[in-house]
Amino acid sequence: MPDKFISIEGIAKRYDSGARETTIFDDLWLAVARGEFVCVIGHSGCGKTTVLNILAGLDSPSKGAVIVDGQAIEGPSLDRAVIFQSHALLPWRSVLGNVAYAVSSKWRNWDRVKVKAHAQSFIDLVGLSGSEHKRPSELSGGMKQRVGIARALSITPKIMLMDEPFSALDALTRGTLQDEVRRICLETGQTVFMITHDVDEAIYLADKIVLMTNGPGAVLAEIVENPLPKERLRGDLHRHPLYYGVRNHIIDFLVSRSKTFTSDRPDHDPRKVPLVRIGKPELTITSGVEQQAVESRQASWPGLARPLTSS
């Protein structure tokens, strides 16, 4: 890993409840390069949100540290913008007011006009022109999340942290918002750390997909490199020869291996999380312990073999 823009170094989270100590996750190591879009997938309770909150500086690890751009995280920062699952708009402020609040927090000496113009440009960017004076209660779920995205982008952060940003939206709205987030992130070269439950969303958006085992005691099992090219269209995803390979690999993990991973792999080294490349005809592992071949499952089902080439 040449460029470690974000480096998660051995973080753990434990909760003390009287005599019993619960370890949500332990010894998590992960590096994210600048401009990379990383999605974390795992079941509820594995501590994904806690990891994100630690990255945001809203929570602190029981052990270990996170280093961003050469500096350890010691609390929330304007360099790291968070898009909350529940959008978390301030309901007493208008759309413009919500975005302007973020803008004026970042540039405290800007005057009102400058703040307003800057906020307006980001409202326009997410396609909410004309709704800037509405209150959040007058907006649909998708529009609210757009405001959340505009608010996060308006402070021009180095990193965007998204906690299942689209999970509360209907499929159609989710699709359009994914398109826009992808467009904006590509245009601005954002480094993104996103949590999701949606495998297709991860394949569409991410460069790397991090698979997390079930908690308590969750670990990062694999980093799946997205084999799809950077130029991808949502409608064309499933036509890509490697799409089903990746998808099936992730779903296999979620369905069965996420439960048994820790017991199957006692020698799993949390510092060297295997990087999985879905290729044809089979998987190759480029890092991690060489002998630990991740068994290829995706083509083992006769009759359901994925198309090798389509175009």
Binding site: A56, L58, G75, P76, V82, A88, L90, W92, S137
Partner: protein, 279 residues
């Protein structure tokens, strides 16, 4: 539909008022000379015995007297004969003063309690014990320490209106949604700015509810307090008119107390509507 409902409700209200006034009028009207008695004796006995008329005035008497008061609300003929406007003014001024002192103390203190779990627990026993004390029970203590009856009344207003505001502010501040605080934290908003831009607006509806309860209690208590301390105010007026056996004036005072109380409540309700946000 709603307009017609309002109209119908208004008509029913007016009908109820008319029925009440008619019943009142019939119940208190004069039934004519009760017995034959010597004119001298009749003069001694007064109208109650001679005319069969109740000492309770009828609505027409009250209306006439009210009109008299409304014509000159601010006259001042010495300590025991002041216009109703002056008396109400004294009461409102005392309520406002005691209430404002309570606002100034209860809201910052409520903020502190709401923000700090330590202070919340530490102050809880005091609040629990002090809250149920009838404000009038403080009166002797206030009179002894403050040595001024008018200030004591203000103190009593303060002590009765401080609790609902304190408790509601603490509750409102403590229950501000975590995600709103997190938004402010990720934006590196400082503590003071966070208190004014996130916590205060988020807790404002709850705080205003507390303030509305408080003004209601303060207005209830001022009447009783003024009956005790005497001198001026609508409470004193009620007691003075009772000593004068002027039931008419007592009824007028009751009516005005109700109207002013409603007005105070409506003012706070309007403020509450300003700060309420739909989610």
């Amino acid at each position: 539909m709603t307009a017609s409902l309002r109209l119908r409700a208004g008509i029913v209200s007016i009908l109820l008022l008319a029925v009440f006034l008619a019943a009142w009028h019939l119940a208190t009207r004069s039934v004519g000379p009760a017995t034959n008695m010597s004119p001298k004796y009749a003069k001694l006995m007064g109208l109650t015995a001679t005319q069969g008329k109740s000492a309770m005035p009828g609505p027409l008497d009250v209306g006439a007297k009210l009109w008299e008061h409304l014509k000159r609300p601010f006259y001042d003929n010495g300590p025991n004969d002041k216009g109703l406007g002056i008396q109400l003014g004294y009461s409102i001024a005392r309520v406002m003063l005691g209430y404002l002192i309570a606002v100034v103390i209860a809201i910052p203190l409520g903020f502190l309690i709401g923000m700090s779990p330590l202070m919340s627990r530490a102050l809880d026993p005091f609040i629990q014990i002090l809250k149920p004390i009838s404000p009038l029970a403080w009166m002797p203590l206030a009179l002894y320490t403050i040595k001024d009856s008018s200030l004591s009344a203000i103190f009593v207003i303060f002590i009765c209106s401080v609790w609902p505001m304190l408790i509601n502010t603490a509750f409102g501040v403590a229950s501000v949604r975590k995600e709103w605080i997190n938004v402010a934290r990720t934006l590196e908003v400082g503590h003071l700015r966070r208190a004014f831009t996130v916590i205060l607006p988020a807790a404002a509806p709850t705080i205003l509810t507390g303030m509305r309860i408080s003004i209601g209690i303060a207005w209830l208590v001022i009447v009783a307090a003024e009956m005790l301390v005497g001198g001026t105010g609508i409470g004193y007026f009620v007691w003075n008119e009772w000593n004068n056996l002027s039931i008419t004036n007592v009824i007028i005072a009751i009516l005005l107390i109700g109207l002013v109380g409603m007005a105070l409540d409506q003012i706070l309700a309007r403020f509450a509507r300003l700060v309420t946000f739909p989610e």
